[in-house]
């Protein structure tokens, strides 16, 4: 490995293209994040998750030359993970079930912080289980964008690269997602 102790993603990509073993470093760097991400997207079974994760990294390696160095590698690998998870649902002919691990309360604050109308609603103590249920009822596109924004803490630009939509559309999707979430929460008296 070259002299850098902590090479950037782009450097690791360049090394991996020259020597396969370096790809292991990229796998190490992203495996936890991607595992968490695909879990949130609904790949709940550990064995399925391992398979999906392996497929993601195989695809990443196979497509390394298509990575545009001017864009974020993180967004690019998330994009592949996102597509692989969707493809996994399709193969199983099932709808993804968002499983939002243990960050519910923080997420509520984050969601509320960007939306004045929803502020009062989210200031209330929200039952996490009810919130998760409401999130599961959202349209896929809305749930995905909320996961990327508030669970993966990604910027609009990165979300735009992952979902392959213009940055302006990401803003619109986030706004609509929060609106729909609010509607889903209303019948639950939150």
């Amino acid at each position: 490995m070259p002299e850098y102790s902590d090479p950037t993603d782009n450097e690791l990509v360049a090394y991996s293209l020259r020597e396969r073993a370096f790809f292991g470093n990229l796998v190490e760097r992203y495996e936890k994040r991607l595992e968490r991400y695909i879990t949130r997207l609904g790949v709940l079974d550990p064995d399925d998750r391992a398979d999906v994760l392996q497929e993601i990294f195989i695809k990443v390696y196979r497509n390394l030359n298509s990575f545009d160095q001017s864009l974020s590698f993180s967004a690019w690998i998330y994009r592949i993970a996102h597509n692989e998870a969707i493809s996994w649902y399709r193969k199983r002919q099932s709808r993804p079930e968002g499983y939002l691990v243990s960050e519910g309360d923080d997420i509520v604050k984050l969601i509320a912080s960007d939306d004045e109308d929803a502020e009062g609603l989210f200031d209330k103590q929200i039952n996490k289980k009810l919130l998760l249920r409401a999130l599961e009822q959202l349209d896929d596109k809305y749930r995905e964008v909320l996961i990327l924004r508030y669970f993966e803490h990604l910027e609009y630009e990165d979300i735009s690269d992952i979902l392959q939509v213009p940055t302006g559309t990401v803003g619109t999707l986030v706004h609509r997602a929060k609106k729909q979430l609010k509607q889903k929460l209303e019948p639950l008296n939150i």
Partner: protein, 315 residues
């Protein structure tokens, strides 16, 4: 699980001999989309060039001669096929551009606008070169299911029952050029009286060029007593310019106006004659028992005045 992932991935890469796809592969993939986009834009421009040709030159100048109203004319002559082709190609161009590496970053209006805009620019260039006419003409000749604008116009004008003929002068039938033998595009010969034609129209007919002719009949038998009311040049043998269409429209309006003016003049004359009966000279008809309105009524019964086009115009 996580510790295993790195090992399993590297082991699988090794075992299956998986290597990154070459840069050339991805480059050609990217270029394929750009190429497809460019092709869609170029084909869109071609479709738009033909669309503009067929829309601009839909025989508007003489629509009263071929249709009951502008609305029926409009819907009958609209080039639906080319509208659909252009819309379809714009959609294809949109999807190709969207699928390029950074295509998703561009806003919708930019993606659609650029595809549409480039096609429009291309179409303007092609149109100015007459490409719309030539492609339309070529397709008409080589595709059985395609009807070119020229064929469409010919079909509208070759309709003796409706008082329209398309063809050329074969020969004068008599020495004083009151009647001519006219051959239509179906190779049928017609004896046509040309005494009601304006000088300009008669000259055009006698020039031997292919012409469109408005005709009227005096009898129920079509072939007998056919009278030429107006003659217009056939201009779809080459890409016509807008100026030519405008000139044709002007000519048609003049024709209608001239007939109206003649009729008004006749009415005026008759009224004067009736008022001053003594001044009537022997060769003129005896109007003492006839009103001006009667004479106009008789004049209006002349075959050409009764031609649907002129009657409609008069109303």
């Amino acid at each position: 699980m996580n510790n295993k992932i790195k090992e399993s991935v590297l082991e699988r890469l090794e075992r299956e001999g998986i290597t990154p796809r070459s840069r050339l592969y991805w480059l050609s993939y990217e270029y394929a989309f750009w190429g497809a986009w460019l092709l869609s834009v170029v084909l869109g421009a071609v479709a738009l060039a033909v669309l503009s040709f067929t829309s601009l030159y839909i025989g508007y100048s003489l629509y009263e001669a071929t249709h009951q109203s502008f609305l029926t004319f409009f819907f009958d002559t609209l080039p639906y096929l080319w509208f659909l082709a252009f819309a379809g190609l714009t959609i294809v161009a949109y999807f190709n551009l969207r699928n390029t590496k950074r295509g998703y970053k561009y806003p919708l209006y930019l993606v659609v606008g650029s595809s549409f805009g480039f096609s429009v620019v291309g179409a303007v260039v092609l149109h100015s070169l007459g490409a719309g006419f030539y492609l339309d003409h070529y397709m008409g000749q080589h595709l059985k299911s395609y009807q070119s604008r020229a064929e469409f116009e010919a079909q509208m004008w070759q309709n003796p029952l409706e008082g329209r003929l398309l063809g050329v002068l074969k020969a004068p039938s008599d020495d004083d050029l009151k009647q001519v033998l006219f051959t239509d595009v179906n190779n049928e010969d017609w004896d046509v009286t040309i005494t009601e034609l304006r000088t300009r129209d008669a000259e055009l007919l006698l020039s031997g060029h292919k012409v469109r002719m408005l005709v009227a009949t005096t009898t129920e038998e079509l072939r007998d007593g056919m009278i030429a009311c107006a003659v217009f040049p056939w201009i779809l043998d080459a890409a016509p310019g807008v100026e030519r269409w405008r000139a044709e429209r002007k000519n048609f309006i003049e024709d209608v106006e001239e007939r109206r003016a003649k009729l008004q003049e006749l009415v005026k004359d008759i009224k004067e004659v009736v008022k001053d009966d003594d001044s009537v000279s022997p060769p003129r008809p005896n109007f003492s028992t006839t009103t001006a309105e009667d004479v106009v009524r008789v004049a209006e019964q002349s075959p050409c005045s009764n031609h649907p086009v002129f009657r409609r115009e008069r109303n």
